[in-house]
């Protein structure tokens, strides 16, 4: 992995929803590999590359907070849009929030900081002018300048992530002393297998002094 990258991300709030508790959302204790991949993709991604998260370093103590919001219950159906397209009346698809109100609580993380260590692989969509060096350069340049395709977020879009590139030779930020020791975080979402109908894959997350080693996708992990 001579072409790995290290990215420091942090934010005031984060929500990495557990799939088993997603109606009234409860966050995982830390960022998941799939959320970390999403952050990297928000900075640079092309179909020619695939990001692979190697390790996640948790810098701050894990703390939760709860918030309840008014949300809507239903998704827009494609059929109703098709009907409105045919009749040319956008007003027909409008949804009235009063009729469709749900109050949902969210248990989210407060004051988080992580170091994502990752590398990427070329996919079969890579053309002749897609070299590893080119994409690595683009990513590093963007991350260094704070450029991004869209503002990366910590789980959901209302919790934006600040990010800074950690240069190759620079030392990693030190985790909070409270992170010392080993902790079993249980089964955690690794990522979704989009090649096979978005099947979720899980891994047993162990955190040693804040560091979580992410096993290779499709390796030893079990399927949900």
């Amino acid at each position: 992995m001579g072409y790995g990258i290290k990215l420091h991300v942090w934010g005031e709030r984060a929500l990495f929803t557990r799939p088993e508790m997603k109606a009234e959302r409860v966050s995982y204790d830390t960022i998941t590999p799939s959320a970390a991949r999403g952050i990297l993709e928000a900075i640079h991604w092309k179909p020619a590359i695939r990001w692979v998260v190697d390790t996640l370093l948790v810098l701050k103590p894990i703390r939760f907070e709860s918030i309840r919001r008014n949300e809507v219950g239903n998704k827009l159906s494609a059929d109703s849009v098709r009907k409105a397209m045919r009749s040319g009346r956008p007003g027909d698809v409008a949804s009235f929030v009063e009729d469709d109100r749900q109050q949902r609580a969210t248990t989210l993380l407060r004051d988080v900081g992580y170091v994502i260590t990752a590398h990427f692989e070329l996919t079969d969509k890579a053309g002749p002018d897609d070299s590893v060096g080119k994409h690595l350069d683009i990513f590093n340049r963007r991350a260094r300048r704070g450029q991004c395709f869209q503002a990366p977020c910590l789980g959901t879009r209302e919790f934006p992530a600040s990010f800074a590139l950690i240069e190759h030779d620079d030392p990693l930020p030190a985790p909070d002393p409270a992170m010392a020791g080993e902790r079993d975080l249980g089964w955690m979402l690794h990522d979704l297998d989009f090649a096979n109908g978005a099947v979720p894959h899980f891994f047993r997350a162990r955190m040693v002094d804040g560091l979580i080693e992410v096993p290779p996708f499709g390796g030893q992990e079990r399927r949900a």
Partner: protein, 289 residues
């Protein structure tokens, strides 16, 4: 509609006097508080709701500016009639692949609904293209200083049910903040704007909406709310020229008299400073308000 060529970030300051800017359903409609710092919170969705409402008012029945997520109080039936009069014909073509159909539906939604093109929407389709990520994202707004909610008891001189007519008059409660200055951060991605067709005109409309956000949102609960400052950072390039958090740090809001023990009770108790010297190259600052 030409898509945006620049990335933007904005810092938005608004205040409330003797009102409740955003009630917490978990706490009996008390103003939302950050339990760790006692600072007030206003959720992203609360602000987006008001932006939608403003646009619905300003662009009443104008094609292309319909609001998908409506509040009934804003709705009027002229909408539908206007659309019927304009009669936008958009016959869906028979396309072989599902994905193309989904894309067509998405494109139609973006073209017709301001909130879909700005904030995005999720549509139920088997294909992923039925999801729109909007270019505009707003984070939770936090008050500059800790706020203290007050509970004000009020009485009503009438009763709801006839059988209660002989009883005492009903007492109610209002929760207010004597004063709170809130700060919200927002992001506009040029690249996502490209995909939803969010144009420069739409951006100007967004700035107008933020400037006038509370002028048409008066109610008994809100008290006096006002937009105080809207500072926009415009990046030279579509991807951006500087990290967002560095730009946000350039806007400093502080008490006019540092170290005063008395709580702030008005906007005059605060000073907003933009460190223009330290703005990275390729970023321009504009004070819209």
């Amino acid at each position: 509609m030409t898509a945006l060529a620049h990335r933007y970030e904005f810092v938005y300051l608004f205040d409330v006097t003797n009102g409740n800017p955003n009630g917490d359903p978990d706490a009996g409609n008390l103003p939302r508080l950050d339990p760790e710092t006692n600072r007030g919170l206003v959720t992203d969705v609360a602000l987006k709701r008001k932006i939608r409402n403003y646009v619905a008012l300003e662009k009443e029945s104008e094609p292309g500016y319909a609001i998908y997520m409506q509040e009934k109080s804003v709705l009027n039936n002229q909408h539908k009639q206007a659309y019927e009069a304009v009669g936008i014909q958009h016959e869906p073509k028979k396309l072989p692949k599902d994905e193309d159909k989904a894309r067509e539906i998405t494109a139609w939604m973006c073209a017709n609904f301001f909130d879909v093109r700005t904030f995005g929407a999720v549509m139920t389709t088997d294909v992923n293209a039925g999801q729109v990520r909007g270019p505009v994202q707003i984070a939770f707004a936090t008050s500059i200083d800790p706020v203290l909610p007050l509970e004000v008891s009020i009485t009503r001189m009438a009763v709801t049910h006839e059988k209660d007519i002989e009883k005492e008059r009903t007492m109610g409660r209002k929760h207010i903040l004597p004063y709170g200055l809130y700060r919200a951060h927002g992001f506009v991605s040029a690249k996502l704007a490209e995909r939803t067709g969010f144009s420069d005109d739409d951006l100007q409309l967004l700035w107008r909406a933020l400037t006038n956000l509370f002028e048409h949102d008066r109610s008994a609960a809100r008290g006096e709310m006002a937009a105080r400052k809207l500072i926009v950072f415009k990046h030279e390039s579509a991807m951006g020229n500087a990290p967002a958090h560095l730009l946000f740090d350039k806007v400093v809001v502080e008490r006019t008299e540092a170290g005063t023990a008395t709580p702030a009770r008005g906007y005059g108790d605060y000073r907003v400073r933009v460190d223009r010297e330290g703005i990275p190259a390729g970023v321009s600052v504009e004070e819209v308000l």
